[in-house]
Amino acid sequence: MTDFLEFTIDKFTFRTATDRFYNDEGVWAKPENNYVRIGISDYLQQRSGDVAFAEVKSEGTTVIFGEEIAVIETIKVNISLTSPVAGKVIEVNSAMETSPEAINQDPYGTGWLVVIEAAELAIDLKHLLDPQAYFAKIKLEAEQEVKKE
Protein backbone atom coordinates (compact mmCIF):
# COMPACT_ATOMS: atom_id res chain seq x y z
CA MET A 1 0.00 0.00 0.00
CA THR A 2 1.35 3.38 -1.03
CA ASP A 3 2.01 6.00 1.63
CA PHE A 4 1.76 9.69 0.90
CA LEU A 5 3.18 12.98 2.01
CA GLU A 6 0.59 15.70 1.73
CA PHE A 7 0.00 19.37 2.30
CA THR A 8 -3.01 21.61 1.90
CA ILE A 9 -3.06 25.11 0.53
CA ASP A 10 -6.33 26.98 0.32
CA LYS A 11 -8.85 24.31 -0.72
CA PHE A 12 -6.31 22.11 -2.47
CA THR A 13 -4.58 19.08 -0.97
CA PHE A 14 -1.56 17.72 -2.83
CA ARG A 15 -0.26 14.21 -2.26
CA THR A 16 3.19 12.83 -3.01
CA ALA A 17 3.57 9.05 -3.17
CA THR A 18 6.59 7.92 -1.16
CA ASP A 19 7.40 4.78 -3.13
CA ARG A 20 8.84 6.42 -6.25
CA PHE A 21 11.13 9.11 -7.63
CA TYR A 22 10.33 12.35 -9.42
CA ASN A 23 11.85 14.63 -12.01
CA ASP A 24 11.57 18.40 -11.68
CA GLU A 25 8.45 18.54 -13.85
CA GLY A 26 6.56 16.11 -11.66
CA VAL A 27 6.89 12.97 -13.75
CA TRP A 28 7.31 10.01 -11.42
CA ALA A 29 9.32 6.83 -11.90
CA LYS A 30 8.48 3.76 -9.89
CA PRO A 31 11.03 0.94 -10.16
CA GLU A 32 9.43 -2.49 -10.43
CA ASN A 33 12.21 -5.06 -10.67
CA ASN A 34 13.91 -4.37 -14.01
CA TYR A 35 11.13 -2.13 -15.20
CA VAL A 36 10.04 1.38 -14.34
CA ARG A 37 6.45 2.54 -14.34
CA ILE A 38 5.96 6.21 -15.34
CA GLY A 39 3.22 8.69 -14.53
CA ILE A 40 2.64 12.23 -13.31
CA SER A 41 2.31 13.54 -9.77
CA ASP A 42 -0.88 14.61 -8.09
CA TYR A 43 0.51 18.14 -7.89
CA LEU A 44 1.15 18.30 -11.62
CA GLN A 45 -2.23 16.88 -12.55
CA GLN A 46 -4.10 19.26 -10.26
CA ARG A 47 -2.21 22.27 -11.54
CA SER A 48 -2.69 21.25 -15.15
CA GLY A 49 -6.44 20.66 -15.04
CA ASP A 50 -8.71 18.01 -16.50
CA VAL A 51 -6.99 15.91 -19.14
CA ALA A 52 -8.71 15.83 -22.51
CA PHE A 53 -6.18 13.72 -24.39
CA ALA A 54 -2.96 11.89 -23.67
CA GLU A 55 -0.60 10.87 -26.44
CA VAL A 56 2.01 8.45 -25.21
CA LYS A 57 5.04 7.04 -27.04
CA SER A 58 4.21 3.65 -28.46
CA GLU A 59 5.57 0.29 -27.40
CA GLY A 60 9.04 -0.38 -28.69
CA THR A 61 10.06 3.26 -28.68
CA THR A 62 13.45 3.93 -27.20
CA VAL A 63 13.79 7.11 -25.18
CA ILE A 64 16.71 8.76 -23.51
CA PHE A 65 16.63 10.52 -20.17
CA GLY A 66 14.82 13.84 -20.54
CA GLU A 67 13.29 13.02 -23.92
CA GLU A 68 9.59 13.49 -24.50
CA ILE A 69 7.63 10.43 -23.41
CA ALA A 70 4.09 11.81 -23.65
CA VAL A 71 2.03 14.90 -24.39
CA ILE A 72 -1.10 15.62 -22.45
CA GLU A 73 -3.69 18.15 -23.42
CA THR A 74 -5.77 19.54 -20.59
CA ILE A 75 -8.48 22.15 -20.46
CA LYS A 76 -5.75 24.66 -19.63
CA VAL A 77 -2.52 23.68 -21.34
CA ASN A 78 -0.62 21.25 -23.52
CA ILE A 79 2.24 19.68 -21.61
CA SER A 80 5.21 17.81 -22.98
CA LEU A 81 6.32 15.25 -20.41
CA THR A 82 9.90 14.09 -20.37
CA SER A 83 11.06 10.65 -19.45
CA PRO A 84 12.71 10.32 -16.04
CA VAL A 85 14.62 7.26 -17.24
CA ALA A 86 16.27 6.01 -20.40
CA GLY A 87 15.14 2.77 -21.97
CA LYS A 88 12.56 1.08 -24.13
CA VAL A 89 8.81 1.44 -23.76
CA ILE A 90 7.49 -2.05 -23.20
CA GLU A 91 3.92 -1.26 -22.17
CA VAL A 92 1.52 1.62 -22.70
CA ASN A 93 -1.51 2.18 -20.52
CA SER A 94 -4.43 1.53 -22.87
CA ALA A 95 -6.63 3.69 -20.67
CA MET A 96 -4.84 6.72 -22.07
CA GLU A 97 -6.62 6.12 -25.36
CA THR A 98 -10.11 5.71 -23.98
CA SER A 99 -10.20 7.37 -20.57
CA PRO A 100 -7.30 9.74 -20.00
CA GLU A 101 -9.21 11.20 -17.08
CA ALA A 102 -7.61 8.37 -15.11
CA ILE A 103 -4.62 10.71 -14.83
CA ASN A 104 -6.75 13.10 -12.81
CA GLN A 105 -8.67 10.47 -10.92
CA ASP A 106 -5.78 8.24 -9.86
CA PRO A 107 -2.41 9.74 -10.82
CA TYR A 108 -0.37 7.25 -8.80
CA GLY A 109 -2.45 4.23 -9.76
CA THR A 110 -4.58 3.60 -12.82
CA GLY A 111 -3.42 6.88 -14.38
CA TRP A 112 0.08 5.61 -15.13
CA LEU A 113 1.41 6.28 -18.63
CA VAL A 114 4.00 3.71 -19.67
CA VAL A 115 6.34 1.03 -18.41
CA ILE A 116 9.95 1.31 -19.51
CA GLU A 117 12.65 -1.30 -19.52
CA ALA A 118 15.36 0.90 -18.08
CA ALA A 119 18.77 0.96 -19.67
CA GLU A 120 20.69 2.74 -16.93
CA LEU A 121 18.36 2.93 -13.99
CA ALA A 122 20.99 3.41 -11.29
CA ILE A 123 22.46 6.37 -13.16
CA ASP A 124 19.07 7.92 -13.93
CA LEU A 125 17.90 7.67 -10.34
CA LYS A 126 20.80 9.83 -9.24
CA HIS A 127 19.28 12.66 -11.27
CA LEU A 128 15.81 12.32 -9.80
CA LEU A 129 14.31 13.65 -6.59
CA ASP A 130 13.33 11.35 -3.79
CA PRO A 131 9.77 11.85 -2.49
CA GLN A 132 10.84 14.06 0.40
CA ALA A 133 12.83 16.35 -1.87
CA TYR A 134 10.03 16.56 -4.42
CA PHE A 135 7.50 17.21 -1.68
CA ALA A 136 9.63 20.04 -0.27
CA LYS A 137 10.04 21.51 -3.76
CA ILE A 138 6.35 21.62 -4.64
CA LYS A 139 5.33 22.79 -1.18
CA LEU A 140 7.70 25.73 -1.42
CA GLU A 141 6.53 26.46 -4.95
CA ALA A 142 2.87 26.40 -3.94
CA GLU A 143 3.47 28.57 -0.88
CA GLN A 144 5.35 31.13 -2.93
CA GLU A 145 2.55 31.28 -5.46
CA VAL A 146 -0.01 31.87 -2.74
CA LYS A 147 2.08 34.74 -1.35
CA LYS A 148 2.11 36.36 -4.79
CA GLU A 149 -1.68 36.44 -4.96
Partner: protein, 144 residues
Amino acid sequence: MTNIDHKEKVVIIPCSGIGKTYGTVSREAAYNVTEDLRPEDTRLVALSKLVLGDEEARSIVEGNPAITIDGCKLACATKMVQCSGGRIARDYAVLDVYRRYKQFKPQGIAELNEGGEQLAQALANEITQLVDELISGKRGEDNG
Protein backbone atom coordinates in the same frame (compact mmCIF):
# COMPACT_ATOMS: atom_id res chain seq x y z
CA MET B 1 -40.53 5.97 -20.30
CA THR B 2 -42.01 9.42 -20.02
CA ASN B 3 -43.17 11.32 -23.03
CA ILE B 4 -43.29 15.07 -23.04
CA ASP B 5 -46.57 16.87 -23.04
CA HIS B 6 -46.83 19.01 -26.16
CA LYS B 7 -47.06 22.16 -24.05
CA GLU B 8 -43.77 21.46 -22.36
CA LYS B 9 -40.45 22.81 -23.49
CA VAL B 10 -37.04 21.38 -22.93
CA VAL B 11 -35.07 23.60 -20.60
CA ILE B 12 -31.41 24.18 -21.38
CA ILE B 13 -29.15 25.20 -18.49
CA PRO B 14 -25.51 25.89 -19.42
CA CYS B 15 -22.51 26.52 -17.20
CA SER B 16 -22.29 30.05 -15.83
CA GLY B 17 -18.51 30.03 -15.44
CA ILE B 18 -17.19 33.34 -16.68
CA GLY B 19 -13.60 33.42 -17.85
CA LYS B 20 -13.47 29.77 -18.81
CA THR B 21 -13.30 28.55 -22.39
CA TYR B 22 -15.44 25.48 -21.76
CA GLY B 23 -18.06 27.58 -20.01
CA THR B 24 -18.22 29.80 -23.07
CA VAL B 25 -18.63 26.76 -25.32
CA SER B 26 -21.52 25.58 -23.16
CA ARG B 27 -23.31 28.91 -23.41
CA GLU B 28 -22.70 29.28 -27.15
CA ALA B 29 -24.22 25.86 -27.71
CA ALA B 30 -27.17 26.71 -25.50
CA TYR B 31 -27.81 30.00 -27.31
CA ASN B 32 -27.56 28.23 -30.63
CA VAL B 33 -30.22 25.68 -29.69
CA THR B 34 -32.61 28.01 -27.90
CA GLU B 35 -32.36 30.98 -30.27
CA ASP B 36 -31.67 29.46 -33.67
CA LEU B 37 -32.14 25.72 -33.94
CA ARG B 38 -35.15 24.95 -31.74
CA PRO B 39 -36.56 28.18 -30.31
CA GLU B 40 -40.09 26.75 -30.27
CA ASP B 41 -39.20 23.67 -28.29
CA THR B 42 -36.61 24.92 -25.84
CA ARG B 43 -36.11 27.53 -23.19
CA LEU B 44 -32.89 28.86 -21.74
CA VAL B 45 -32.60 29.25 -17.98
CA ALA B 46 -29.63 31.06 -16.49
CA LEU B 47 -27.88 29.00 -13.86
CA SER B 48 -27.33 32.11 -11.76
CA LYS B 49 -31.10 32.52 -11.39
CA LEU B 50 -31.36 29.05 -9.91
CA VAL B 51 -28.45 29.78 -7.61
CA LEU B 52 -30.20 32.95 -6.44
CA GLY B 53 -33.43 31.05 -5.89
CA ASP B 54 -35.43 32.89 -8.53
CA GLU B 55 -38.96 31.54 -8.26
CA GLU B 56 -39.78 31.71 -11.97
CA ALA B 57 -36.59 29.92 -12.96
CA ARG B 58 -37.18 27.26 -10.35
CA SER B 59 -40.75 26.78 -11.53
CA ILE B 60 -39.64 26.35 -15.14
CA VAL B 61 -37.05 23.77 -14.17
CA GLU B 62 -39.49 21.88 -11.99
CA GLY B 63 -42.08 21.69 -14.73
CA ASN B 64 -39.98 20.73 -17.73
CA PRO B 65 -37.31 18.23 -18.70
CA ALA B 66 -33.86 19.74 -18.48
CA ILE B 67 -30.63 19.40 -20.43
CA THR B 68 -27.62 20.64 -18.51
CA ILE B 69 -24.26 21.58 -20.01
CA ASP B 70 -21.36 21.67 -17.57
CA GLY B 71 -18.07 23.40 -18.29
CA CYS B 72 -16.04 21.53 -15.71
CA LYS B 73 -16.18 18.59 -13.36
CA LEU B 74 -17.78 20.64 -10.60
CA ALA B 75 -20.94 20.14 -12.67
CA CYS B 76 -22.69 23.15 -11.15
CA ALA B 77 -25.49 23.19 -13.72
CA THR B 78 -26.40 19.58 -13.15
CA LYS B 79 -26.18 19.83 -9.37
CA MET B 80 -28.21 23.03 -9.24
CA VAL B 81 -30.99 21.59 -11.39
CA GLN B 82 -31.09 18.53 -9.17
CA CYS B 83 -31.24 20.73 -6.08
CA SER B 84 -34.06 22.70 -7.67
CA GLY B 85 -36.18 19.63 -8.18
CA GLY B 86 -35.62 19.42 -11.91
CA ARG B 87 -35.75 16.35 -14.12
CA ILE B 88 -32.53 15.97 -16.06
CA ALA B 89 -32.98 14.31 -19.42
CA ARG B 90 -29.26 14.48 -20.19
CA ASP B 91 -26.24 16.11 -18.64
CA TYR B 92 -23.48 17.09 -21.05
CA ALA B 93 -19.90 17.86 -20.03
CA VAL B 94 -18.04 19.99 -22.57
CA LEU B 95 -14.81 18.07 -21.96
CA ASP B 96 -16.52 14.81 -22.93
CA VAL B 97 -17.93 16.45 -26.03
CA TYR B 98 -14.48 17.72 -26.96
CA ARG B 99 -13.13 14.18 -26.64
CA ARG B 100 -15.62 13.18 -29.33
CA TYR B 101 -14.59 16.08 -31.58
CA LYS B 102 -10.85 16.26 -31.10
CA GLN B 103 -10.46 18.29 -34.28
CA PHE B 104 -12.30 21.23 -32.68
CA LYS B 105 -9.89 22.56 -30.09
CA PRO B 106 -11.57 25.38 -28.19
CA GLN B 107 -9.64 28.47 -27.22
CA GLY B 108 -10.58 31.95 -26.18
CA ILE B 109 -12.94 33.19 -23.52
CA ALA B 110 -14.92 36.28 -24.46
CA GLU B 111 -14.62 35.20 -28.07
CA LEU B 112 -14.11 31.61 -29.07
CA ASN B 113 -11.71 30.62 -31.79
CA GLU B 114 -12.95 28.74 -34.83
CA GLY B 115 -12.44 25.40 -33.09
CA GLY B 116 -14.49 26.58 -30.14
CA GLU B 117 -17.29 27.76 -32.40
CA GLN B 118 -17.27 24.45 -34.24
CA LEU B 119 -17.31 22.52 -30.98
CA ALA B 120 -20.24 24.60 -29.74
CA GLN B 121 -22.02 23.91 -33.02
CA ALA B 122 -21.36 20.18 -32.74
CA LEU B 123 -22.71 20.17 -29.21
CA ALA B 124 -25.72 22.21 -30.28
CA ASN B 125 -26.44 19.66 -33.00
CA GLU B 126 -26.31 16.82 -30.50
CA ILE B 127 -28.61 18.67 -28.15
CA THR B 128 -31.00 19.49 -30.97
CA GLN B 129 -31.25 15.83 -31.85
CA LEU B 130 -32.00 15.00 -28.24
CA VAL B 131 -34.60 17.75 -28.04
CA ASP B 132 -36.30 16.36 -31.11
CA GLU B 133 -36.33 12.90 -29.58
CA LEU B 134 -37.74 14.22 -26.33
CA ILE B 135 -40.39 16.25 -28.05
CA SER B 136 -41.42 13.43 -30.32
CA GLY B 137 -41.58 11.08 -27.39
CA LYS B 138 -38.99 8.69 -28.74
CA ARG B 139 -36.85 9.09 -25.71
CA GLY B 140 -37.61 9.04 -22.02
CA GLU B 141 -36.28 11.49 -19.53
CA ASP B 142 -34.39 8.99 -17.48
CA ASN B 143 -30.94 9.53 -19.00
CA GLY B 144 -31.51 6.42 -21.02
